[in-house]
Each structure stands twice: as C-alpha cells, then as structure tokens.
Amino acid sequence: MAKSLFEEKLNSGKFIVTAEVGPQKGVDCSEMIHHIKLLKDKVDALNVTDHQSSVMRFPSLGGCLLVKELGGEPILQVTCRDRNRLALEADLLLAYSRGICNVLCLTGDSVDVGDHKEAKPVFDLDSVQLLRMIRTLESGKDMGGNDLKGAPQFCIGASVHPAADRIEPQLVKFEKKVAAGAQFFQTQGIYELDSLRRFMQYASQFDVKILAGIIVMASARMAQYMNENVPGVIVPQSVIDELASAEKGKGLQKGIEIAVRTIKAIKEQNLCHGVHIMAVGRESVVPEIIEAAGL
C-alpha cells in the first residue's frame, strides 16, 4: 500500500506537478491559506518551505497542517539547520500523526545567508543521514535504538543540483541519498535543458523519480539577485538577458513565459518524471503556468 497519496501518484507514471508555499513571518496565515486554496487541487502535492534562505518564519510543519486541514497533500520540507536529532525525530512523529506523510530532506542554507546571522547552526545530521533516520523510524526504532510505540511511514525525497558547475561531488551525494532511501528528487532551478538531459541519462539507472525545479523569475534584477545571494541558484546569462528584454512592467510575464516554455519542453521530450514549481512569493501565478503548460 502506498504511504501517501503523493507516493501513489509518483508510482502511477503520470507527469507529476508539485509547487510550494512559503510561510509568512508572523501569525497572520491568511495569505498562505489563500495560496494553499489556490494551488491544492491543481498540483499533486504542495511543499511548505522550512525557514527558506535561513529567514525565520512560521514553521513548515504548521504550514503542512494547514495544507492538510484545507484538503491538500503536503510535502514537509525539513532542514538539518535548526534541529538536532531529537527534535527532528519528534517533529516527524508529530507530522505522521497528523497525516503529513511526505518529507523532503534538505541540508538547509547556512544561517549566514539569513536574517539571524548570529544563531548557532545545528547540522547534527546531514540530509543523507536525515533520510536514513526516517527509514530507521519506519522500522519501529529511534536513532537511540529504542522501540517506538507505533512507527510512522513516509514517502521521502531530497534535492539534487544537475546544473552544478562541479557536478561530480554532487553526484556522489545524490547516490548516497538514493542509498539512504530517497524515492523522489526535486532539482535546483532548471533553465536550460542540456544539464537536465545529461543528468537524466545518468540518473535513469536509479529507481527514483526526478522532478525538475522551475523557479519563476519576475525580473532580470531578481535573477541577478538570486545568483548572487541564494545558494545553489545559477541563472544563465541568456535567461537574464531574455528577462531584461521584457517591456517595463512585463518582467513577470516574461518569467512566466520562460517557465511555461521550459515545462512544456521537459514534458514533451519526456526528460524527467515531473516538475516542481517554485514561485518564490508569487504563488498566485502558478495556476496560470500550469494551465499554459498544459499540465
């Protein structure tokens, strides 16, 4: 039996579409609720980010509870940055008990890039070990080897960076993530298909589903900012130039156009198993992208 609705869809062979919502800083969840309602029936699952870019926000677990309450299928993003193994295990037990059964295991950005630069980073585990730990919980034991009263079952995923300029060490880690139990991968932003194609030629030997990350750019400035400030983001100059060519005030429209074109090409060429759309604060345009891409 599938561990979650999302796992069922992953295994169904259909082209998967996921998106994400970023919780707000504060307790007013109205915008996030609006985004969840807007997206929950248009995607196969909805990620909730975990203090993205190390900026303190409402927690991903809280966002996933809202997704669940509103009838969506959540993917809990969990980073190793802020919680030691006790806290990670406990959060996962809570998540499962409330029907949150998909987890994306991430290292987490460094605290130095965020808004609490003086915080003590944790990194008790790394993302590979987090995946492995979840499989241990599923076996009915915690990391201390103690019996659990009721074991959770999760569909687990991780991230991979097919366009990394030094790809070899990234692939070493990718294989470790597969060995540790990852079932699906969300890639870092994909802008040109060559690196994705190369990566898929290599990755197809593993029994995992790859979802290409699509970051929706709103302007050339945003792309440049992300290149300079967001770890793991590499927007090629050709994409920046294309964004810059947009008429004043039409940057987002151009960004949507690029996203739609990329998704269509990925789907038509059957390059990977689906897409993960990251709208970074502009979640309201995601339905338009999904529709225009014919998903």
């Binding site: 193994r85 290292t107 130095d112 070990q129 030094r166 070493v172 770890p231």
Partner: protein
C-alpha cells in the same frame, strides 16, 4: 596550533578600568606564533595602554612579562612575584592560559586580552586558517586528509550541499568547499570509491557537546 587575536583596545581598556597595577602577561608558545600575545605584543600593548592612561589623566602602572607557556604551572610560577604585586593580570595567552592563571592564583583577578579563535595554521605570512575542531573522533583517514567538521560550514559528512559553487562555499566565496577539496584529493589518490559508503552518524558526545573533556593516562600518572 591555537590561534588568537588581540581584543579591541577599547574592550581591553574597559576590562582593566577598575585596576591600578596591571601585569600584562604574554605567552611564548601558540600566541607568539600567531602574533597575538608574545613578548612583542606585550610590549606594544603596554606602550599603548600607558599612553592612553596618561592622556586620560590616570596613573595606572603596567608591568610586562612573558612566560614560555601559560598553560603549565611550572612556567607561570616563574613570575609568581609579579603576579602577586599586580591588582589584575591581563593575560595575552589563549583561554587555557587565562584559566591556568585563575586556577593557580585563586585570589587574583585575571583578564583576557585576546580572543582565542581556532586551531589552525598559517598558510602564508599573516594568513591564519582553521584546520581542526578537536571533535574527539578524527575522520581524516576517510576524507583524504581534509576535515569536513572544521572546514565545511555545515560540518556535513556525506558530501557537499547544493550551495557549493565553483568549488567554493556558500558562506563565503573566498572559502574553498571542503567537500570539493575532499573529492579532488581522493580523486588524485585514486580512492574515490571511499566516498561511496554512508558516513555513520557523528557521535557529538566526543565533541565539546559531551561536556568538558578529560584524558587520564594511567600509564603516565605518578
């Protein structure tokens, strides 16, 4: 070796403000090598503080001394008399030296004049870098002689994070990504197969997180 940096002069002045007779005590070992607290730095700091004291109309008295190692009783006892005569000792040794003084002279005020920074080495003159975190469970044999605990900002054990770009760290583009270094070194040694195994969970109880550590060598005890 232990690397340290002298505290800002304003902070040192604030620390010594309540005291009249101050002994500035250097250390001839690690902090001398890192140009933070040896005989030369003791002299320079004493001159600065004397000038500052005079300009501010104070009549503080600064004595100077440097011992070979502040982290050993025998060496600090060599300046016992100067320590006794001072109202406060401003130590330019690492935190170990400061605490050795405090323990040996329980009635004496001991103040730190440097920030103890890391365990490392000079890669070029004037450039000191961290190399060891003293985590208590060395894995350099598995990582090609490059430490991911000390040199990866996230102390990752199974490979680089997605923020590694051009072989550099996401925290600071001037910093080498430890996992790129590990990969390159193992490739050079023809040992890339060593990277395949999942690295076991780190036992942080052997690090400082297990509380202050202690080594007892029964074979050496008198």
């Amino acid at each position: 070796m232990i690397k340290a940096q002298q505290k800002p002069i304003a902070e040192i002045k604030a620390l010594i403000a309540p005291y009249h007779r101050i002994l500035i005590l250097g250390c001839g070992t690690c902090v001398t090598i890192s140009f933070a607290g040896g005989e030369k730095e003791v002299g320079l700091l004493a001159s600065s503080l004397r000038i500052a004291s005079a300009m501010e109309g104070q009549d503080k008295i600064f004595a100077e001394a440097t011992v070979q190692r502040q982290c050993e009783w025998e060496f600090i006892d060599a300046v016992a008399e100067q320590i006794q005569q001072a109202d406060a000792v401003l130590s330019l040794a690492c935190g170990i030296g400061v605490q050795a003084l405090a323990e040996r002279y329980p009635d004496k005020v001991v103040l730190p004049g440097v920030n103890t920074t890391f365990l490392g080495m000079a890669v070029e003159h004037g450039v000191l870098v961290e190399r060891c975190r003293a985590c208590g469970d060395c894995i350099l044999g598995l990582t090609g002689g490059v430490c991911p605990i000390a040199r990866c900002a996230k102390n990752l054990l199974n490979g680089p994070c997605g923020g590694s770009q051009n072989g550099k760290c996401e925290v600071n583009p001037e910093l080498d990504c430890a996992w790129q270094l590990i990969y390159d070194r193992l490739a050079r040694l023809g040992q890339l197969d060593r990277l395949a195994a999942l690295m076991p969970y780190k036992d942080w109880s052997k690090d400082y997180d297990g509380g202050p550590r202690k080594i007892v060598r029964e074979d050496l005890r008198l």
